[in-house]
Symmetry: C2
Subunit: 406 residues, 2 copies
């Protein structure tokens, strides 16, 4: 099977008032820069990355520039050594200057990578989680570009981790039956008032969720009040996460985290600038035992490596629509294994692809079952929207990565 054609689609979706808002992204239009690969047999692979509307066309243009070199490639041969193909794309001698490995060109690479994995899983007639689980350790390692990680992990160590984790794999596969737990982000957008927040929470609790996220990062007294509303309505046993979306300076973050500690957050997410490894390290020491989660805006595996080496974060939130796609997500997940830090994806794909990756991560890498972010706003636009019931993602059975849009 060969890749015969690459096309893009600029898909933008208006949200209802307040949905998707946080302390910095005040008027998002959830949009996907979509890569569409067509094989010579007519099979279609779909790859997604999220943007907030404006500029989505820039990512689509970059996809076209980067992906042309995939046309004519035999699919199994490409995927048998995808790590090398990824590296060549990421180091495009002209486009690399626009990153490197970050920003528009890296988002474009993510979309392309995700389309390759979708097409490949479909060609094998397996859901992505199962296609990945079918590979042996060496085959998984071949998917990955491990360059610039050599000082902490190499191919041999990746294979060793994967083989070591074969133990217990069958037991962990029971997650396929129970479904992977979800947490609800859509209760507490920044644009929702206290009443809306409470209503959303009650509905979410009724739906079976036990973990919830609230957007903070504005006036501290307002943040604290809203956090207490969340804690009261959700109850003392609920798991609650607070997300500042990078809006604090380090001094402000220290103050804010200490104040917000009273609601016992499971983590504080993106307290300050996502490039500021030193600030996160200092903050972690100041606010112990509070945990920091970060990843939504960490551009690549190299920066994740730096966060892990610094011991700055207790939860990794890689996103295969921010990193260079499924394969770099898996690379970061292996770093999580190595440093013993749980991987709890941010879901720019609305959880469609990450539901597959969370299953793989738990079963094959032995990463702990935490929960997967759930954002339902785009459900009606997917061919096979994630099925979430009783607060759990039900294991997807259709071939591919559940990325096809209507």
């Amino acid at each position: 099977m060969h890749i015969q054609k690459v096309a893009t689609r600029d898909a933008r979706y208006e949200l209802e008032a307040g949905a998707g808002t946080d302390a910095v992204h005040s008027a998002p239009i959830y949009s996907f820069a979509v890569s569409q690969l067509t094989s010579d047999s007519g099979l279609q692979g779909t790859g997604l990355v999220l943007t907030l509307g404006q500029g989505n066309e820039l990512v689509c243009s970059a996809i076209e520039m980067l992906a042309e070199q995939l046309v004519g490639r035999e699919l199994e041969e490409l995927m048998a050594n995808f790590g090398e193909a990824f590296r060549v794309l990421a180091d495009h001698p002209k486009l690399r200057w626009l990153g490197p490995h970050k920003g528009v060109v890296h988002l474009a690479l993510a979309s392309i990578t995700n389309a390759c994995f979708d097409l490949w899983a479909k060609s094998r007639k397996q859901p992505l989680w199962n296609a990945l689980l079918s590979l042996n350790a060496a085959e998984i390692a071949n998917l990955l570009d491990l360059s610039y990680l050599e000082d902490v992990i190499d191919r041999q160590q990746v294979v060793a981790i994967l083989e070591e984790k074969l133990a217990g794999r069958e037991m962990r596969s029971s997650i396929l039956k129970t479904g992977y737990p979800g947490y609800d982000t859509s209760v507490g957008w920044y644009g929702y008032d206290d009443r809306r927040l409470s209503e959303n929470l009650r509905r979410s609790v009724d739906q079976g969720f036990t973990a919830f996220k609230l957007k903070v990062g504005g006036a501290l007294d307002v943040d604290v009040r809203r956090a207490h509303v969340l804690r009261e309505v959700a109850g003392p046993g609920a798991t609650i996460m607070l997300d500042a979306n990078q809006q604090w300076s380090l001094p402000k973050a220290i103050t804010a985290c200490r104040e917000l500690a009273s609601v016992r957050p499971y983590w504080i997410e993106e307290p300050t600038h996502p490039d500021d490894i030193v600030a996160h390290t200092k903050l972690a020491a100041e606010i112990e035992p509070l945990s920091i989660a970060i990843g939504e805006h960490v551009p690549n595996r190299v920066v994740f490596k730096n966060y892990l080496e610094a011991g700055a974060v207790k939860f990794l939130q890689p996103d295969c629509t921010r990193l260079g796609g499924v394969s770099e997500f898996l690379t970061v997940s292996l770093l999580g294994c190595k440093y013993n830090v749980p991987v709890v994806p941010h879901v720019g794909d609305m959880g469609q692809i990450h539901q597959h990756l969370a299953l793989f991560n738990h079963i094959a890498l032995g990463l702990p079952e935490v929960f997967l972010e759930h954002i339902p706003h785009l459900r009606s636009h997917f061919v096979t929207p994630a099925s979430v019931s009783g607060g759990r993602y039900r294991t997807p059975q259709e071939p591919g990565s559940s990325s096809d849009l209507l």
Copy 2:
């Protein structure tokens, strides 16, 4: 004076064979994504950022999206508080997602910022270096977005540094007469063979240069041979710099630097991935007393802050066509002051703007006179190409930032 119109220009220039090549950028087409601001009085401000050709149009598109909010702004009012305007542009609620503060959107911001400074200096009928030197400490501080630096430097400290450096300013102003020293990068592009390298070097020495850069980052034996050619032809007293353009892993960098130490390089530039602060820190310890220089691909002030806090580098190479323009360049220069690390710009602008900034940095910030990179390939395309003679940049006298293209 008001900004009446924003336009862009996608300017691309073919280079002669081998020129501009390094270990990763094998076939550059030097290109500028140009911002053109027109005032209601008909004055034109030009802002540049460099790309390597493909994708230059993405930056131009992003400029149009970002810059529209400047139309109608009064120029002196805008520049009196440019730091705040910069922050608003950098945190555009939709386009920020494509960075943040890196990649295509940040390059676009750089081009816009540079156009604002060019227009402003022209409106004052002063060369940019002089327009900047005419400002007092508070006015300089107002140009800067210091957000996310609060833990190491704030407005008050910026003002204090500037006022402290008033001492000696008159003496340092003698640089205006002698001209700022240059170093020659164009002798040793990666695509030049040993013979070409030697010829270039001899010509450069004849022109008065005493400092030279060589591209390395390929097969180590070839790198070592070429470095020895450079040292022999340039002579024992010459200053030579080696630039690996990010092509080494950390283990490879350690080996390569130790081998290359025999030619006594003044610095090793971009030994590994520009996001890898920890690797640079480890490398610095391993190769002492060799110095590391980095900056060409460091996307913003936050990452520079991290490099400085880690003590990883001995020379900063910020580039106002990579950072968000002149103002973020000045912010990084102030960080250089604070940490006592010399600032030796990378010149994506071919030195046209940086010749102004190097003068300001030395005179107003008291940063040491080192030398400014010189790359002559685009000389014929500028209205007022930098005048370099006897190995020194001659102080530009025309109003503005010397950015206008033919």
